[in-house]
């Protein structure tokens, strides 16, 4: 019953503060524009400061390519123009989401190539985040509530190992143990051979089986960090004055821990989730290469190997924009959960 009243009051409050919230969101979004411009400048600088122009690659040792041909290529790609003009043109195309075309033999637009690979990567990362939250929060809370117990000590060891373990090595060991020796899980790709002949539910189960290992391997680092963070957050809250007050007022320990303290300790988790996005996206290169998963990370890896510059730059910019979007989402959820943020004060 009390929960219901809590909920109702909270709902009223959110409705009341929605106007404020919109203003805050707008302010945050406008604040991101200089960051976006900075991202494009860094990407552009990297592309053009690096040795070797795209027009020269593949033609430098080819005797059939004359100096005039190279000059024509330079004009074609606009490389003969001054840098600021090249940047301006690139930016204009970026605004319409035109990242250029891939250098590979299919010569498809970068955006198309990324768009077909992105969903798998996003799914793996979202599932990894859900897994992190589902495991790390209980671990952190129990560790904090039973500080210095055997559970807490065991989890501390787990956290140190989780921080230090190379994810691809963990992946390899799991592949050997579960895939090769026990033959329980598939070790590469996202579909089995007979995928097209399977029924709908069979397909889903097959996909899920292929995703178990990659998701777990992506999650391991975050799992360690998040549970540590949750533990120290919970410890801070348990020692806070208002908790002592609540205890003095005779509120039961259960209520203090799981309603009062937990709610407040969960707040910073939102920020940490936002901060963990670049690591997860970056880590997808290794995880996807290890498990041969056709996602954005593997695409990026292939682009790096074949020096497909438009694709490399395109994915770098998209990765940064995804990070920025994730941070914005985290900021907004934090402001939504903690009204003090958008009501002025720090």
């Amino acid at each position: 019953m009390t929960y219901a009243i809590d909920f109702l009051l909270y709902g009223c409050f959110i409705l009341y503060s929605w106007g404020d919230m919109k203003q805050y969101a707008l302010k945050r979004i406008i604040g991101m524009i200089p960051l976006l411009i900075g991202i494009t400048i860094i990407s552009f600088g990297m592309m053009h400061l690096a040795p070797g122009e795209p027009s020269v690659i593949g033609s430098e040792f080819n005797p059939k390519v004359s100096a005039q041909d190279i000059e024509r290529l330079r004009t074609h790609y606009g490389l003969d123009k001054p840098l600021y003009e090249q940047y301006w043109n690139w930016m204009k195309r970026l605004l319409f989401l035109d990242f250029g075309t891939s250098f590979s033999s299919d010569a498809r637009p970068v955006l198309d190539k990324v768009a077909e690979r992105l969903p798998v990567t996003l799914w793996i990362n979202i599932l990894a985040m859900v897994l992190i939250l589902a495991i790390a929060i209980p671990i952190g809370v129990i560790s904090a509530v039973r500080q210095n117990s055997w559970f807490d000590r065991g989890m501390t060891v787990f956290v140190f190992i989780g921080f230090a373990i190379p994810s691809f090595w963990l992946g390899l060991l799991l592949m050997i143990a579960l895939g090769v020796n026990m033959n329980l899980l598939p070790i590469s790709g996202i579909h089995d051979y007979g995928w097209l002949q399977m029924g709908f539910w069979e397909q889903q189960i097959d996909l899920l089986k292929h995703l178990i290992l990659p998701v777990f391997v992506s999650a391991i680092g975050g799992l360690a960090g998040m549970s540590r963070f949750m533990r120290s957050g919970m410890l801070d809250v348990i020692r806070a004055d208002y908790v002592t007050t609540a205890r003095a007022m005779g509120i039961s320990e259960q209520n203090i821990r799981y309603r009062l303290a937990l709610k407040n300790a969960l707040l910073p988790i939102i920020t940490l989730l936002g901060l963990s996005i670049p690591g997860l996206i970056g880590g997808s290169v290794i995880v996807e290469q290890l498990f041969s998963i056709p996602g954005m990370g593997l695409l990026f890896y292939e682009a790096v190997l074949s020096r497909d510059y438009p694709l490399v730059m395109g994915i770098t910019v998209i990765g940064a924009v995804l990070t920025l979007a994730g941070n914005l989402l985290a900021d907004l959820s934090y402001a939504w959960a903690d009204p003090r943020i958008h009501h002025g004060g720090e």
Binding site: L35, A164, P166, W169, L235, V285, T323
Partner: protein, 281 residues
Amino acid sequence: MIVNLRASVSLWFTHPLLLIGGVIVSSVVLSAVLAPWIAPYDPAMISVHDILLPPSWAHWCGTDTLGRDVLSRMLYGARVSLAVGFVAVGISLLIGVCLGAVAGHYGGRADTLLMRATDMVLCFPTFFLILAVIAFLEPSIWNIMIVIGLTSWMGVTRLVRAEFLSLRKREFIMAAESLGVSSFQLIWRYMLPNAMGPILISAVLGVAGAVLVESGLSFLGLGVQPPDPSWGNMLTEGKDNIQIAWWLSLYPGLAILITVLGYNLLGEGLRDLYDPRSSSR
């Protein structure tokens, strides 16, 4: 002298993290330095008779697809991770301390500008940034060191800036300033030594990160190139022979895990030493 010795001995035992981390790190450093003398075999010696032997008394960690001794290659691989870790962290410290010192000491416009730039670089997933730069360069151990250093200074910058901002308000700094000590002297002689603790901690933890990144890059084939041994590229071979030779995957990864764990424990131990309040957690 004796008192000092006793104090330092008891210090190691009251801070177990420092002890364990120190022992691990020094044994890794020792095995890297002494690799030519303690390695049982020549790491490059190919032997057609000893291909893919499982671990035995003759080859403690087995042999690889060319019959080379895995343990010897791991000992030489320790040199790679050591060199990459220290040089990369050196570069990131150099950049981070300079930028952070300027931002924290001068404040104002310089601070805003530098912090904005740091925020921008932080938007890129680090691994993407590293790979994007490597796409333009030849993969080699030197390029790896430089690239890891150039993409990991942001944390140090923020840390040094925060330390300097709080130091600037301290009385002894204000006293030095009012005595007309030049800005450079103030930063170099007064502020930097007082910020050394956190910088050292982040450097030790940074080595752990650099070792992990190097092994990841080498695993992807974009780092140290075979036949030079590195823990990462040995694991690539492990992956290629995953169905038949588990020892190729197990041992090099274990070496990475233990080394990184050692640096992390050492860093945490130093943090406890420097800021005892955090250890009460």
